[in-house]
């Protein structure tokens, strides 16, 4: 009986963690010291639970924010947003002209073919480390 219960709970736990969070297509635009750039990537949530990206950090900048691009009166702008929800079995793309991570006042030069590390913070999955390459 005890064994059956243990197996049942193990099954329930496994159901909530089928698959995992996958981060792909990581890249950012070339940038020189003191200027801003945008980090792009795709978050694929292959679990059965919603997760939320609420922060991004990197040693290349003291100021990193999650941003969205918006259209107002025929003009385009961008603004910080506090978090992005990634629903179960769905993906969110950070791409030019849409969601992006703004990396401000970078500490060095990042030209084509160089790379940098970033930490993505999710409510459920915690810190996810990524490396992004520079490309145009």
């Amino acid at each position: 009986m005890k064994k059956t219960l243990l197996l049942f709970f193990a099954f329930l736990i496994s159901c909530n963690n089928i698959g995992k969070l996958k981060i792909s297509h990581t890249w950012f635009r070339p940038v020189l010291k003191g200027m801003n750039t945008a980090l792009y990537f795709t978050v694929e949530n292959n679990t059965n639970q919603t997760d939320t990206l609420y922060s991004v950090k990197s040693s290349i900048s003291d100021m990193v924010q999650i941003h969205e691009t918006f259209v107002k009166d025929g003009m385009k702008g961008m603004r910080p947003i506090k978090f992005i929800v990634v629903k179960p079995h769905s993906k969110v793309e950070f791409k030019p002209g849409g969601f992006h991570v703004m990396v401000m006042n970078v500490k060095g030069d990042y030209k084509k073919s160089s790379s940098a590390k970033f930490d993505l913070y999710f409510k459920r999955n915690g810190k996810v480390k990524i490396t992004a390459n520079v490309k145009e």
Partner: protein, 196 residues
């Protein structure tokens, strides 16, 4: 015989893709704006571009997303035009954030993208001149959200028109496109008509 004549006329007109079909949005040839380029050299816009077809856009270098995307699109257009040996074209990017975009900042913006062409001009100037120019071409840019940095500085972003334009060889504004998601083939086709 008459039928044949009209067919030939029709085909000639279609093939010629007459640039007169592209209406003039604004004639800028009578106005001149004294600006400065990324090499700190004085630049008369648009007079210094006379005789060239111009791919024109508007940027601010603190923009991480839309403006670099627009520049990237122009780089792809430039690559295609060079491939097709269409060389009588100038590329102009005017900053609408002249307070932060000094010539040296614009030079960095170009350098990091490996933009070296002598026909590529990144322009800035005094605020009044820039805003008069933007008004003349009906380009809107206004400060939007701000962010306070850890050191207490205020960073501001712009909300702005998203645009790439074409000027003809007589400094006339002929066509506007969305800058960030321009159909490059369509733009190049219009440019070829203006280049004739």
């Amino acid at each position: 015989m008459i039928k044949k004549f009209f067919i030939i006329i029709f085909i000639t007109l279609v093939l010629s893709g007459c640039s007169k079909d592209i209406p003039v949005i604004k004639d800028l040839s009578k106005i001149n704006y004294k600006l400065i380029d990324q090499d700190s050299t004085e630049f008369n816009f648009p007079q210094d571009l006379k005789g060239k077809t111009v791919v024109l856009s508007y940027i601010y270098t603190h923009c991480p997303d839309i403006c670099p995307l627009t520049t990237h699109n122009i780089m792809l257009i430039n690559k295609q035009l060079e491939k097709e040996n269409i060389n009588n074209v100038a590329y102009v990017e005017i900053s609408f954030d002249p307070e932060r975009d000094s010539p040296s900042v614009l030079k960095k913006y170009a350098e990091v993208r490996a933009i070296k062409s002598k026909d590529w001009h990144f322009l800035t100037g005094d605020k009044k001149t820039i805003y008069d120019l933007l008004k003349a071409v009906n380009f809107k840019a206004m400060p939007g959200d701000t962010t306070i940095t850890p050191s207490g500085d205020t960073l501001y972003y712009f909300i702005h028109t998203d645009r790439i334009s074409l000027l003809d060889k007589q400094n006339r504004l002929r066509k506007n496109f969305k800058g960030s998601n321009v159909d490059k083939k369509v733009l190049i086709n219009f440019l070829k008509q203006l280049d004739k």
